[in-house]
Subunit: 541 residues, 2 copies
């Protein structure tokens, strides 16, 4: 059978929904050559999300939570690329170019949307620049590296106020994700700080901010939620209930209650936005998710399906929708594979029936909470053991089971590790957010960056004979810091924010490369372009 | 005893020389409170260099080769910072600022230079932009990720020429480092490509380029070197002897022999440059290294010592210098610690006596070569077993021994892993190098970058009615690619290099942020600065 007559099933996304759909399709299409399955994902691995928080503390190896897609899906064609465009009319998907700048366009007969949701701080000044998201492996590793960086700096900090700021950690969101991250961070920081002779565990403050009355109030029954809260409190986690994280600056978390918590570490597990591709798609949506039938078909779009976190699947028998959990995504994937094959063969489709087995969350340090169907509730070591066993069992592939098992074993024997894996290159252009009254830099500070004001206003303060006076104000579109850059080694004035301020930060080296190349660039660009367009159109005619 | 009367020993660098000096000092100063030891390093871990090549193939865990400095040096004060300046007159060292933009200055009584050497491609156009160095953990991880990226792209590449280019890997340098990297890469690529249904091991070309007659010609006796070469050839590594890597472009390695090998992966283990701090130091140097006495003192600089790769230590009894190996650095560190303590106590200093125990190198896949004192030579599995045992034994700390042991055990059981750990953010400003005749992009390509010409000349080719003609030339300081950026989605012309070309690449998003902020920036900067300087000087007077 030639490839042109084969039916093509195209899956977008490599999370639980997408990967399990492909796995179930591989099983059902084992000996069939008339159907081809393609999966597109921007990473070549599948992340086992429930164990992501453990990466922060390093109680499992950095890569133990991830499985190579190729190992999981030997008969699926994989494209490790970003998706640029979905064209429902033409039934094609365009991929971002690889090494060569050529666009790749894949046509399909069936398209499975399994793109999940994303953490998106755009449009949230302060969070965008300074908050740590916690959604994927890169987030977990960045957070881990940052925690170690902060401890290293705190260990030699003479200023007690700054030391406390460095040792304060704020986590926003009291759902499972926020609670697990807070618990793991708290355990890890208190253990690893023993290796720093100048740091004491009691100097560490981990603060969990939640909009509800108690943590996990939407996930668990009141008694279990209260149990979880008690456990975390006993371990030293502070709680700020009935408030939200409003924004973050370079030096603090700012709550909606007006409180300002000085801290260099603000983690937000809260905003879960629709994937940009789903947002751009012209289908019926609610809360940013694609509404599907109980068969997982997208209504009035032949050959279009959605699964997992990006889909709104009716919950069987109830007037509500399935929650965005792994157990639901996996069951949806099984049904989806069955229904696509049924469509290919002209058989009847089935409806989604699964109602959930229960909920559980780790509280770190050999404690957990679980609420299972039939009204069974577990807590403490038993729940923790249950939690580990279930997820270990669910880890795809024997090799990961072995690796994670060994890591847990080693973790029992060895102390926590504090290797900071600096992989992230210093970005040439960074952004920063400051709140009114905060200081960007002080007179006499060392400086090698230029600041461009994207928004807001700052004042320039110069200290002479012990008195500080304002010599200028700088507003939007202007810049400052160029003097230390070009002439001095230290800052000749203090910059204090009058309003909420957004800054673009250019480092010295990049600044010089750019200024020498870009001089007058924009002014001349339009002219040059006009001339060239003219030449091209003459040639083409 | 107050801190001001305590003697301070300051060690710069956390490689074998620096870390072992601190370790030996901790032992010798156990119960003394009159001496303080500080070590400054930019990473908070020590890399066990001899096992770095194994990180590429993943036969040991990503972090198993590194040990946290705090665990190794519990009684040493650590500063995890970059060193900015060494002032021999004032006896101070300035550190790069941390979270706060304040400079930290440390004074010392004894200063130990243990900064090693660096890989520095600056001033080597082509290599700077496109060659992979292989010196530290970040290099090893970047290379590993790149190899997997290349395989992913090759697996779906329809153009056979481009596929071959993707599957060709060039390593420059036939010393131990180059040979070990080539061997590990070759093993890994041939094993892992079995997981890609569209790739065959025989499609993979690994090419080792060396300036000598045979590999390892400076390190081993001819018979052992030939043995090593035979083993690598049998495993499929191609050799290009008596030539050097001249440069690299985005699509090829260019040899001094004039050969152009199309490839996306060029690894250079060759250039080892002096550390910039050593370069800036006003002491007597040879080949960029600090010349020291047999006592490891820097002549006529009281309290200044150098050890390891950045030092030129006379080889005992010979008219030559110690080679830059770990075994020498560790022995030098032991002597250095002894001599510093002797100086503090007014005792006589000793001379460096160690002459080396032998040399060994891994050839991957259970084979190695070793040449030990007394004329003993080993090769094959025996040498490999010997290699592993020695280095495993030398791994600092019981926990690393356990981790590496377990990793090796797992490696025997499980297939090679191909998880690509994308941690490196896309850089806002990249650079690229092209050779004459190479194409930057083709008419019809997808494009979202602007190119600024730093050096060289390109021609703009437009195809009309099947014929290609040159419509313009673009030279230094000019730019191109702005049309696809602003108006079109695809390139309206082909850009081909007339000379060797250096480009600055700006991605769309960053370009827009910059252009809107930087308009006319340079022109107005001098004026604004004059005005502000005027205000400041008025205020200060």
């Amino acid at each position: 059978m030639t490839s042109s007559t084969r039916k093509r099933i195209l899956i977008l996304g490599g999370g639980f929904g997408g990967v399990y759909t492909a796995m179930y399709l591989e099983k059902r299409l084992k000996r069939r050559t008339d159907v081809e399955v393609i999966l597109v994902n921007k990473e070549n691995y599948f992340v086992f999300q429930p164990m992501l928080a453990e990466v922060v503390s390093g109680s499992i190896g950095l890569l133990d939570t991830v499985s190579p897609l190729r190992r999981l899906l030997p008969r699926t064609t994989l494209y490790i690329r970003e998706v640029e465009l979905v064209d429902l009319q033409q039934k094609t998907v365009s991929l971002h170019p690889g090494f060569q700048p050529k666009q790749q366009v894949l046509s399909y007969d069936h398209l499975v949307l399994a793109l999940g949701s994303v953490t998106d701080f755009r449009g949230m000044p302060g969070l965008y620049e300074h908050a740590f998201p916690f959604k994927n492996l890169t987030d977990a590793l960045s957070l881990r590296n940052h925690l170690i960086h902060v401890l290293e700096e705190a260990s030699n900090e003479a200023n007690p106020q700054l030391k406390q700021e460095l040792l304060t950690f704020v986590i926003a969101g009291g759902g499972f994700s926020g609670v697990e991250v807070a618990a793991e961070m708290n355990d890890y920081l208190r253990e690893v700080c023993r290796q720093y002779s100048t740091l004491k565990p009691q100097e560490i403050r981990v603060i969990l901010v939640h909009s509800g009355d108690r943590i996990l109030d939407r996930e668990l029954t009141p008694d279990l939620a209260e149990y979880a809260q008690r456990i975390l409190k006993k371990r030293g986690v502070e709680m700020r209930m009935n408030t939200r994280l409003r924004t973050a600056s370079q030096n603090a978390a700012i709550l909606e209650s007006g409180d300002r918590i000085p801290s260099k570490t603000v983690v937000s597990t809260v905003p879960s936005s629709p994937h940009p591709l789903i947002e751009a798609l012209d289908v019926f949506k609610e809360r940013g998710k694609v509404k599907v039938l109980s068969t997982l078909q997208v209504p009035s779009q032949e050959g279009l399906w959605a699964v997992g976190d990006c889909a709104l699947v009716p919950s069987p028998g109830k007037d509500t929708y399935c929650p965005p959990t792994a157990q639901h995504a996996v069951r949806q994937a099984a049904l989806l594979a069955e229904n696509i094959v049924a469509t290919l063969d002209g058989r009847h489709l089935k409806n989604f029936q699964f109602t959930g087995l229960g909920k559980m969350g780790s509280l770190g340090h050999r404690s957990a909470v679980a609420q299972i169907i039939g009204g069974i509730k577990l807590s403490g070591v038993l729940a923790w053991f249950f939690w580990r066993t279930i997820y270990w069992w669910k880890l795809p592939g024997l090799d990961r089971k072995l690796r994670v098992g060994l890591s847990w074993f080693i973790d029992l024997l060895l102390p926590a590790d504090c290797v900071q894996l600096k992989l992230d290159e210093q970005q040439a252009i960074a952004q920063a957010h400051f709140e009114p009254g905060e200081v960007v830099f002080e007179q006499g500070d060392v400086g090698d960056c230029l600041y461009i004001m994207l928004k807001g206003e700052v004042e320039v303060l110069v200290e002479t004979a012990g008195a500080q006076c304002c010599v200028a104000r700088i507003g939007q579109g202007e810049y400052f810091g160029e003097m230390a850059l070009l002439r001095h080694k230290t800052r000749s004035a203090t910059i204090r924010c009058l309003t909420s301020v957004e800054l673009l930060i250019l480092r010295q080296g990049d600044f010089q490369a750019l200024v020498s190349s870009l001089a007058g660039l924009r002014d001349s660009m339009e002219k040059v372009m006009e001339r060239r367009l003219h030449v091209v159109s003459k040639e083409s005619s």
